[in-house]
Amino acid sequence: MAGASAAMMGTETMKARVTVTLKSGILDPQGKAIEGALRSLGLRGVVSVRQGKVFDIEIEDADRAAAEAVLKSAAEKLLANTVIENYRVEVTG
């Protein structure tokens, strides 16, 4: 079924989101640059910006616990570098 999403095939899918953020204390030059750009737009009250990544993932044929286990494994093995990053897994439905 390459090329066709599970939803198109009519099987049960779960939607999930993995959020990867830099650990506190890790220098984030990109976040700093974005912070400076927001200030230069005249937006008031921006104290600091840290940037990160969001992965929206569809999982098929899984219950909630199994989906969470797969996503945790995906985050540990590839999506996050746990030397510098934290991740959060949310199964959204």
């Binding site: 220098l27 590839l78 999506l79 570098n81």
Partner: protein
């Protein structure tokens, strides 16, 4: 010296590396595709070259580090085989767990493409026996993510065990923030693993091996490796 140069999609320094290896060792290196599961038999040196594997998607080196050939490289390194990882290769080696730490975005957010000065911290490794400890060499860098960081414990261990091999320095070998182009912790430009057989470095010694190009400061690294294997034979 029988060497193998790994090739990933998006790598672009593999031919420079092959040229330097051919010039200094007199042997043609094997070019090894990322999807291969094994290194050529008799491989003595694996080189992970520079470039932009997988377009630097996700994190620099992250996807290449999970390629099939990397299992073979990890097994080769675990048995004491020598691995030289340059630029994107250094990023791949860190992502693959062959070396500690991470190469982050340069502190000034700019891609840096220029010659830098490196202080060679040790001459008693297979990679640096062609230099004297404390010697300053001039070699090019070309990277946007070369800012080496690791947690405090890792940095203390690297320093305590003498595993920092190259540091960004002034032309007379002083360590100074003005000469630490990418903001790396402790001006780290290159490190070695605990077993002493995997070297990762951001600069490109392979680009300064021919007088026609201007400088030959990178020759010592390759000539030293050739000596290492000749003496072992």
């Amino acid at each position: 010296m029988k060497s193998a140069v790994l090739v990933f999609p998006g790598i672009n320094r593999e031919r420079d590396m092959a040229r330097a290896l051919r010039l200094l060792s007199g042997r043609e290196p094997a070019m090894v595709w990322h999807a291969d599961a094994a290194l050529p038999s008799g491989t003595e040196l694996v080189v992970i070259p520079g470039g932009f594997s997988y377009g630097d998607y996700l994190r620099c080196g992250a996807i290449a580090a999970r390629a099939p050939i990397m299992d073979a490289v990890r097994a080769f390194a675990a048995k004491g085989g020598l691995v030289l990882a340059v630029c994107n290769g250094f990023q791949i080696a860190c992502e693959a767990g062959l070396l500690p730490g991470v190469l982050m975005r340069n502190a000034q957010l700019r891609f840096i493409c220029r010659d830098v000065y490196l202080r060679v911290e040790r001459s008693d490794t297979p990679f640096t026996r062609g230099y004297n400890a404390g010697q300053v060499i001039r070699v090019p860098v070309a990277h946007g993510e070369g800012n080496y960081i690791a947690d405090g414990e890792t940095i203390a261990r690297l320093e305590g065990e003498g595993r920092v091999i190259f540091r960004y320095a002034s032309p007379d070998g002083m360590i100074d923030p003005d000469w630490n182009h990418n903001g790396a912790m402790n001006a780290i430009a290159g490190i070695i693993n605990a077993q002493g057989n995997v070297l990762g470095m951001m600069p490109h010694p392979e680009n300064h091996v021919e007088a026609a190009i201007g400088r030959t400061d990178g020759r010592g690294l390759f000539a030293g490796l050739v000596d290492h294997f000749n003496l072992a034979a």
